[in-house]
Symmetry: D2
Subunit: 103 residues, 4 copies
């Protein structure tokens, strides 16, 4: 469960770049479809692995961009406004960072 | 460029499980589409990051499965048959492993 | 170059747990020494790789702990006090997170 | 438990480069000691994180080198000689690769 505020969406850091992020994910979706096709066409393993490494790197970059926006907007807003000084948002962000580092 | 043999596809390690791997990649494609939609719907950043971590882990598992099959088939065959004792295939596999570890 | 403030050290988030972090790094140092010894004693490769994976995970956990403290102290303080709303500290933290995710 | 052969050590792939690997691990040990000292001296968090990222990358490179040697020696020997065609060694190597990718 996310510690989101009710008003919610309007504050999400990535909103300004929403179209750009969505487009990057659509491209990643296309890359995943491409890998599925490579497998169906019995292409060479190593070439498939190369595509998967590229896909993983692209996903990490989207995640790092979203996280940077999140820290700079949601977390900063919570630090300034929150009665707990943003502690809940920070704990949530740290947990997300740990998942990214370990995945 | 891959060090593939001409006869090629028939030896690829993953072929026996082709349908299963292709299906897993189709599911990953669906997850990527889901993330794109979450962004378009302005869902909460942290929830999106959680999905991306899950997606990355799923991709890694596909890659590790393909790699295991590749080592057990293509590389083993090359070690047995190749005039170079499979050295080219091994170097290629090691490079793919390095890309996975670093991505 | 770090965007540290002059007064500096006294605000570092991890200071309260300094002894604990230093102790964890001393244990990691000991593990690294153990791996060097395993190599010198020509122990089995796979056992050495297992130790290196454990070492890497231990290092990541130290880094994630330090980062969490850093966000909750240095970055929060900068957000509250800084004329730039902590933007420089946030950019610096994001760059450190990217290095951790990609390493 | 490792699936090592009895005669053992003499076949380990990395033996030829033993001194070089041991030296790299000694350097990593020194880097870990340096990080412990940075913490004791209350140096800046981000600088410590930068050192930890470098340390992690250095460890990965040692692991990838050892793994490459292991595949090219122990695993190749087992494929050629083993009654099971090296299957046990390959399964063991795949498990080690998975631990590296996920750590």
């Amino acid at each position: 469960m996310s510690v989101d505020d009710e008003a919610g969406a309007a504050h999400h850091g990535y909103i300004g770049d929403k179209a750009r992020y969505a487009q990057r994910m659509r491209r990643i979706e296309g890359q995943a479809r491409g890998v599925a096709r490579m497998i169906e066409e019995e292409q060479y393993c190593i070439d498939i692995l190369t595509q998967i490494s590229a896909l993983t790197a692209a996903l990490q970059n989207v995640a790092l961009g979203l996280l940077d926006d999140h820290l700079g907007h949601c977390v900063v807003d919570a630090v300034r406004a929150g009665e707990d000084g943003g502690a809940a948002k920070l704990a949530e962000a740290s947990a997300a960072i740990a998942r990214l580092v370990k995945s």
